[in-house]
């Protein structure tokens, strides 16, 4: 449609949007650099009871290797609204990753939002938790708990995975003692990998990647699965506690 003057927004489960349609996205959207917006839903482990066949854990990885593609993964309702509008204003293909799990509202209308500019929450220097998508809220919970223990961390909401905010990543590595990445996605090829790519080139340091560790998902309630795969605020605290 785009070829004839409209901006198509396509939406379906992430497992189909990125997985089944990969060849179409590659050859008929990204290669001709068409202005198509793919808004995938039900991404990640938090799709829950449907189980592994429907839990897309590799989409960020696949989508970000495609030339011309912008990749986004938003963390709350407010940010989703901003992103859906913002992507209409940039030219070229976009993959916007959305999830099924109900998440708390993180942002109010005063928050600045710009594609490619990560949002920093807090000024802590003990650690940076660089997170994306529906589990940014777990990082924020961990931050608040850790504060009570006298550990001051910052959360970086990396809503744009490509182009990634290199400046923010390097700044955090310089200013904080530890870097943790957190994603509802495989640790291979996703946010964790993207952060490591930047740091290995610009400011080599140790990074702890939290995410799905090279395995398929399983059925269960979203909250239970986050516990099972060790992606909750408590798991973040455990890591920072033991390594701190």
């Amino acid at each position: 449609m785009l070829v004839a003057g409209k901006i198509p927004y396509a939406s379906t489960f992430a497992v189909f949007a990125a997985g089944r349609a990969y060849d179409q996205i590659r050859n008929s959207i990204c290669y001709p650099n068409l202005n198509v917006k793919i808004c995938s839903t039900h991404a990640g482990i938090t799709v829950g009871e449907d189980g592994a066949t429907h839990q897309m854990l590799e989409d960020i990885s696949m989508m970000r290797t495609l030339p011309n593609m912008t990749v986004m993964s938003v963390s709350d309702d407010t940010q989703t609204k901003w992103a859906v509008e913002a992507i209409s204003k940039i030219k070229g293909p976009v993959y916007l990753r959305l999830s099924r799990m109900e998440t708390p509202i993180i942002y109010d209308e005063t928050q600045k939002f710009e594609i490619g500019k990560a949002i920093q929450i807090g000024e802590g220097t003990d650690a940076s938790i660089i997170a994306t998508g529906d589990i940014v809220c777990e990082a924020i919970k961990a931050k608040e708990e850790l504060e009570k223990q006298g550990i001051n961390v910052r959360v970086i909401d990396m809503h744009t995975i490509k182009p990634i905010d290199r400046q923010m990543i390097v700044k955090c590595a310089k200013e904080t003692k530890k870097i943790i990445t957190l994603e509802d996605h495989s640790i291979i090829g996703g946010l964790g990998s993207a952060v490591c790519e930047v740091l290995s080139e610009e400011y080599p340091c140790k990074v702890t990647r939290m995410g799905i560790n090279d395995q398929f998902g399983k059925s269960g309630k979203a909250e239970e699965l986050l516990k099972y795969f060790k992606l909750t605020a408590k798991d973040i605290i455990d890591i920072l506690g033991t390594t701190h």
């Binding site: 449609m1 070829v3 004839a4 003057g5 409209k6 179409q24 050859n27 008929s28 290669y31």
Partner: protein, 273 residues
């Protein structure tokens, strides 16, 4: 520029065949068989049917053509050059690093190419989008999509066919280049593909069966398709793979192979008769 004289169109078509052979020979690779089978269809589209202007290749109201069987790019490049979208000299750069004529058509590199294709089965979906937009905007342009018969073994084609029907895309005309051969052989032996017309009919298309190497029949089919309202048309064009070069005709071996010097000379000699 609308040419109505059949003899003149046949001459152009023959010129296109020569340029197909020339490109594949020069590049030492490419797909001559299906390019030659579709040469007459492309000639009619670009010299008789489509509302296009080679001097304004991105005009929003132009008719669109999607070469879903993108490997037959030599035919598309030849017809675009013949029509004047770019210099014929450029055809020598086919499949080379120095030129813009990629192995499969790239809409951002070649003026006149309406859609990037190459991964089979996707062109009808793109055509649907164009045809639907034409309708939504009341633009009135028509969309033509050329599918290979081997290509329609791809499932996406039939998903797209349902969409064409659902949106009553009577400004969409599908042409199946039914040369009966794909890379691995006969379409019937590869995938049991038969009764293509019945299949499209079952999916709600108006269908027309013709000899796809007969200029007059091709023109008539397109004219009939224009009169059909409320549903898309599929023209099943029975063609000969490798048409025009005796030793390439009806031989799946010439699906994606370049001729040797000797074969090239023989082919050109035949086409110059």
């Amino acid at each position: 520029m609308k040419i109505t004289d059949v003899k003149e169109l046949e001459k152009i078509s023959n010129e296109i065949r020569k340029n197909i052979v020339e490109q594949v020979y020069t590049a030492k690779s490419g797909h001559p068989g299906g390019s030659l089978s579709s040469a007459d269809i492309l000639t009619v589209l670009y010299f008789n049917q489509m509302n296009i202007d080679e001097k304004n290749p991105s005009s929003p109201l132009r008719d669109r053509f999607v070469l879903s069987k993108g490997h037959c790019s030599p035919a598309l490049y030849a017809v675009l050059a013949e029509r004047g979208y770019f210099e014929k000299e450029k055809l020598k750069e086919f499949r080379s690093t120095k030129g813009s004529l990629q192995g499969h058509p790239d809409m951002n590199k070649v003026p006149g190419v309406d859609m990037t294709t190459g991964s089979l089965g996707q062109g009808l979906s793109a055509s649907n989008g164009m045809a639907l937009t034409s309708k939504l905007n009341h633009d009135g342009f028509r969309v033509y999509c050329l599918l290979g018969d081997g290509e329609i073994e791809e499932g996406q084609v039939w998903e797209a066919a349902m969409t064409s029907y659902k949106y009553k895309l009577d400004n969409l005309c599908v042409i199946v280049d039914n040369n009966n051969l794909q890379i691995d052989g006969n379409v019937e032996s590869v995938k049991g593909l038969d009764n293509i017309e019945g299949k499209f009919k079952a999916f709600g298309f108006n269908t027309i069966s013709i000899d796809g190497n007969n200029i007059e029949q091709i023109i008539n089919a397109f004219e009939t398709a224009k009169l059909i309202k409320g549903k898309p048309t599929a023209i099943i064009a029975k063609t000969i793979k490798g048409k025009g070069v005796s030793f390439m005709e009806n031989d799946a071996g010439w699906h994606g192979k370049a001729p040797s010097e000797e074969e090239y000379n023989k082919a050109i000699k035949e086409l110059e008769k």
